[in-house]
C-alpha cells in the first residue's frame, strides 16, 4: 500500500508542474527510482492507471529509470554494489561506508503536449 501514497504524490507533483508550465496533456513521466527507496514500479503503474483518471495526466506513460545502490568504502576507496549478505567493503572489510547512489525517488521530467482545440479538455 506504500506505493499508493507515492503514486498520489507523483500525480500531484506532475499536475502541478504541468500547470506551472502553462497546462496541457501530460504524456509521459520520467521517474527515477533508487534501489534503496523500496518502491515497486509495477505497483506504482497499477495505481497510476486508477488515480490518474480524469486528470491532465490520465493514461500517461510512466518511464522508470532504476538506479542500483552503490556503496563506496571510505578507507580503501573501492566502490561496490549492494549485496544482501555483505554490506561491509568487499575488498578491505571496512565498515566505514558511504552510500553513493540508490537513494533516489524523484520525478525528473514530464512530457507535455500543449492544448489544442481537440485536446483542450485535458488541461486542468
Amino acid at each position: 500500500m506504500h506505493e499508493l501514497s507515492i503514486t498520489q504524490s507523483l500525480l500531484e507533483l506532475a499536475l502541478d508542474h504541468g500547470r506551472k508550465a502553462g497546462g496541457g496533456r501530460i504524456e509521459r513521466l520520467h521517474v527515477v527510482i533508487g534501489e534503496l527507496s523500496t518502491m515497486v514500479d509495477h505497483s506504482v503503474a497499477f495505481y497510476w492507471d486508477l488515480i490518474s483518471q480524469g486528470t491532465a495526466a490520465e493514461g500517461a506513460e510512466l518511464v522508470f529509470e532504476r538506479i542500483p545502490a552503490e556503496l563506496g568504502c571510505n578507507r580503501c576507496g573501492c566502490r561496490y554494489q549492494l549485496s544482501q549478505s555483505q554490506l561491509a567493503c568487499h575488498s578491505c572489510g571496512s565498515t566505514d561506508i558511504s552510500i553513493l547512489a540508490g537513494d533516489e525517488l524523484l520525478l525528473k521530467s514530464i512530457d507535455l503536449t500543449r492544448d489544442s482545440v481537440e485536446a483542450g479538455e485535458g488541461a486542468r
Binding site: 521517474v31 555483505q86 554490506l87 565498515t95 566505514d96 520525478l107
Partner: protein
C-alpha cells in the same frame, strides 16, 4: 507538439513539508516526539507499557498508535496511564505526515512532555515517510533473526537509536550478535544500541537513560 518539462523534485517533498509543519507545532508546544518503528511482534507496545510504568508521575506522556484496523494497542497504552490516540490507517502500511497532523489535532499538546508514536508494524514503508518526530527508534528483536539489517537497510539507516528486544531469548535462538551489529555499523555508524528484554527488564534502565537525554523534563 510535445515538450519536455524539467522537474527534478523529490516525490515525497509535499509530504515532508507537512512533516516539517508537524515538527514546528511540537516544538512550539515543547513536546518531544519519538517515532517507534519495528516489525509486528517485536515489542513496540510492550516497550511503551514498560516506559509508561517507569516514568509515571515524572513527565506527561501521550501515545499515538498507528494500526491497520484495531485499537488494541491504544487500549494497552491507555490502560498503562497515557493519553492515547488511535489512528487506523485503513490498510495502509505506515503512518504519514497527514495522519500525524490529524493525531496532533486530537491532543492537548501543551499538556504533554513526551509523545510516543507507535508506527504500524512494518520494516519497509515507515522508513520512507517522515512524520515530524524528533527521534526515530527501531526495535529489532532476537527471534526475527540477525540478518534484518541486511534485508531492510532503509529502516536501519534512518534511525537515531536501535533497540534489540527479547535478549532473554539469546541462549535459545541462533542469533549472531556480531553479524547483526556489523550490518548495522555499515548502515548507521555509531548508532546507539540498546539491547534489552521487556520480559525480564534487563537493559531497560539504559533505554530510560537514553530517553532522558532526549526529553528535557527528564534530564532535570
Amino acid at each position: 507538439m510535445t515538450e519536455r518539462v524539467k522537474v527534478v523534485e523529490r516525490i515525497l517533498d509535499a509530504s515532508e513539508r507537512l512533516a516539517d509543519e508537524n515538527r514546528r507545532r511540537l516544538d512550539q508546544a515543547g513536546v518531544v516526539a519519538i517515532n517507534l518503528m519495528a516489525s509486528p511482534g517485536a515489542g513496540k507496545t510492550s516497550l511503551i507499557e514498560q516506559t509508561l510504568d517507569a516514568l509515571r508521575g515524572n513527565i506527561r506522556i501521550a501515545v499515538v498508535d498507528g494500526d491497520i484496523a484495531t485499537s488494541l494497542d491504544a487500549e494497552r497504552a491507555a490502560a498503562a496511564g497515557a493519553t492515547a490516540v488511535q489512528i487506523n490507517t485503513g490498510g495502509q502500511c505506515h503512518l504519514d505526515s497527514a495522519m500525524m497532523q490529524q493525531a496532533l489535532d486530537q491532543l492537548a499538546l501543551d499538556e504533554i512532555d513526551l509523545l510516543i508514536i507507535e508506527n504500524v508494524g512494518n520494516l519497509i514503508c515507515p522508513a520512507a515517510f517522515k512524520l515530524g518526530s524528533h527521534y526515530s527508534v527501531l526495535i529489532a528483536s532476537v527471534p526475527e533473526g540477525d540478518d534484518k539489517p541486511y534485508k531492510y537497510p532503509g529502516m536501519y539507516r534512518g534511525v537515531d537509536a536501535l533497540i534489540l528486544n527479547k535478549t532473554d531469548l539469546l541462549p535459545y535462538v541462533p542469533f549472531d550478535l556480531n553479524y547483526f551489529r556489523r550490518g548495522v555499523e555499515v548502515l548507521n555508524p555509531g548508532l546507539t544500541f540498546l539491547p534489552l528484554s521487556c520480559q525480564t527488564g534487563e537493559g531497560l534502565p539504559d533505554w530510560l537513560r537514553w530517553l532522558g537525554g532526549c526529553v528535557p523534563e527528564l534530564a532535570s
